[in-house]
Amino acid sequence: MNFFRYLSSRWDDLLELGLAHVGITVLAVLIATVLGVGLGMLVYRNPRARQFVIGTTSVFLTIPSLALFGLFISWMGVGTTPVVVALVMYSLLPIVANTIVGLRQVDPAIVESAQGMGLTRVQRLWRIELPLAWPVVLTGMRVATLITLGIAAIGAYISGPGLGNEIFAGLSRISSPNALNQVLGGTLGVVVLAILFDMFYVLLKRLTTSRGIR
């Protein structure tokens, strides 16, 4: 069976797996964004705390994903939950790091004038600093999304959802006629998703960044 015949016969399944892949990626990146931006806001002014958070999240990113999934089986079993937890861990570094960089590059004079006008610490952060850091934070989210898309495929190893299932299905019966098509189909699916997400982030950046800092 050639690849295009395979695609047309398996189209429905691939679409469903692709949507599940998108779902788990979006969920993981959203959780990582809430955690990462929050952590970043907490530590960006304190050099030690900053080092600690960046160091820790860097270590997360260096753990081989297959090993991490394996470790999680004994603790959380298999399925969506351990996969999401792992994906959040991998997404944290780019988001935390970019939040810190973005907040630190806000012109101190702007923050001082905000303080001099009587904005409270919280108001300064939400109204001034975070909106100014936002384009950089968004770039971190984009990198996190790309990392997550790739690693989520491996989550199928512990019965996570997504295109990884098609890839692992092919790999498990590599000599059968459709095996290569399945691996290729799953992989290309991830690539297509990556391109679509990239386009989405370009749009999101345009929509959520003030014209004054574009």
Partner: protein, 389 residues
């Protein structure tokens, strides 16, 4: 002094000690700032002037001492609430780049919970007040403005909730000299209307003399070397530190304190366009001046003519260009006009451009001498009063 207005801000033995520094940045500073005046804190860099100013809105918390605003102790209590009562302008301006001009100006009124309509009206009023067109500028972003326009919006934003007190930290420091001069003049004109109590920090003594109603010259540790009006500091520096700081040319600086309308201009023989050259020649012969001032039919100065011009066929239509000044011009500007003009006498004109008199080097010299003797007289009488009591 009898004309001192009530005290708006009182600094009472303020001390600021930064950790790890041997000497305090501010050592027991006490200062009374009169209402409705511009007080300048001026001194060499590192003297603690900015630290002193930032303690007033408590961006820097004093180590000890008290700050009284309207006789109310504001040293403790919520600093954010205090800051909303005090306008704040810094050299870098610090407009919020992601917000429009209108949003920037609306910041403090928004915090104070004004209604939308009231805020919108105030925003337009303020943009107009600093000499810009609200319809054109309110929806622009800071990056779409020139440096001078940003500075104006910075001032407008500081005045948004109509605070009695404004703190300005080298507000015109980062602007090119020509624009700076214009903004300073505009601000003085504005201040004449709004009469805020302003604490203004600068390291530039010329700016201090130009802008200040009163000047506090500070030395290291924010110690007051002299606290007085610009005139008296120039005429009578308290010690060597002050005279060094004022630098050379104190007399020249004083010229920027007096205006043409404060002195008596001299008169000059004039002729009007269309007069017979023979009449002009006779007029010139009868005067001890070396030239005549030619006026046009409306009485506006046109040119200088000398005997040489009158002998030529062009008659009184030729001549040298005239440098004119208004009655509000400072003597320093007038002197400048005179030095750059071909004929070193400046012609004073009224609002409609009509000739009212002339100012030459002698007139200015006379004015300086007058200022000096008036000051000596004042000192003598205060000495006499001191001896009598």
């Amino acid at each position: 002094m009898t004309d001192t207005p009530p005290i708006k801000i009182r600094l009472d033995k303020l001390v600021k000690r930064f950790p790890g520094q041997a000497r305090p940045a501010v050592e027991e500073l006490s200062l009374e700032i009169p209402e409705g005046e511009i007080l300048i804190l001026v001194g060499p860099s590192g003297c603690g002037k900015t630290t002193t100013m930032k303690m007033i809105n408590r961006l820097i918390e004093p180590t000890s001492g008290r700050i009284l605003l309207d006789d109310e102790d504001v040293t403790h209590g919520d600093p954010d609430k205090l800051r909303r009562r005090i306008g704040y302008v810094i050299q870098q301006i610090g407009l919020f780049p992601h917000q429009t001009i209108a949003q920037n100006i609306a910041t403090v009124p928004g915090l104070l919970g004004w209604s939308k309509e009231r805020i919108a009206a105030r925003v337009d009023e303020l943009i107009g007040l600093v000499g810009m067109d609200p319809a054109d500028y309110r929806d622009r972003y800071p990056k779409q403005l020139s440096g001078g326009q940003r500075q104006r919006i910075g001032v407008a934003r500081a005045m948004s909730a109509d605070p009695d007190v404004m703190l300005m930290d080298e507000p015109f420091g980062a602007i090119d000299p020509i624009t700076r001069d214009r903004l300073q003049n505009e601000f003085l004109r504005l201040q004449a209307e709004i009469k805020k109590t302003i604490v203004f920090v600068t390291h530039d003594i010329d700016e201090a003399i130009k802008m200040g109603d009163r000047i506090a010259i500070l030395r290291e540790g924010s110690q007051i070397a002299q606290f007085d009006t610009p005139e008296r500091i120039l005429v009578n520096p308290a010690d060597e530190f002050v005279s060094d700081f004022i630098g050379r040319g104190a007399s020249l600086k004083r010229l920027s304190l007096s205006r043409v309308r404060d002195i008596e201009p001299s008169t000059w023989p004039t002729v009007t366009v269309g007069d017979d050259p023979a009449v002009a020649r006779r007029t010139l012969e009868e005067t001890d001046r070396g030239s005549l001032l030619v006026l046009d039919e409306h009485g506006a100065p046109r040119s200088w003519v000398t005997a040489e011009h009158l002998q030529r066929s062009s008659g009184i239509d030729g001549g040298l260009p005239v440098a004119t000044v208004g009655s509000a011009a400072t003597l320093s500007d007038t002197l400048n006009e005179m030095l750059t003009a071909r004929y070193s006498t400046a012609v004073v004109v009224d609002d409609t451009g009509r000739y009212t008199g002339v100012v030459d080097i002698d007139t200015i010299n006379e004015a300086i001498r007058g200022m000096r003797s008036a000051e000596r007289e004042r000192q003598r009488s205060s000495l006499a009063k001191g001896a009598a009591t």
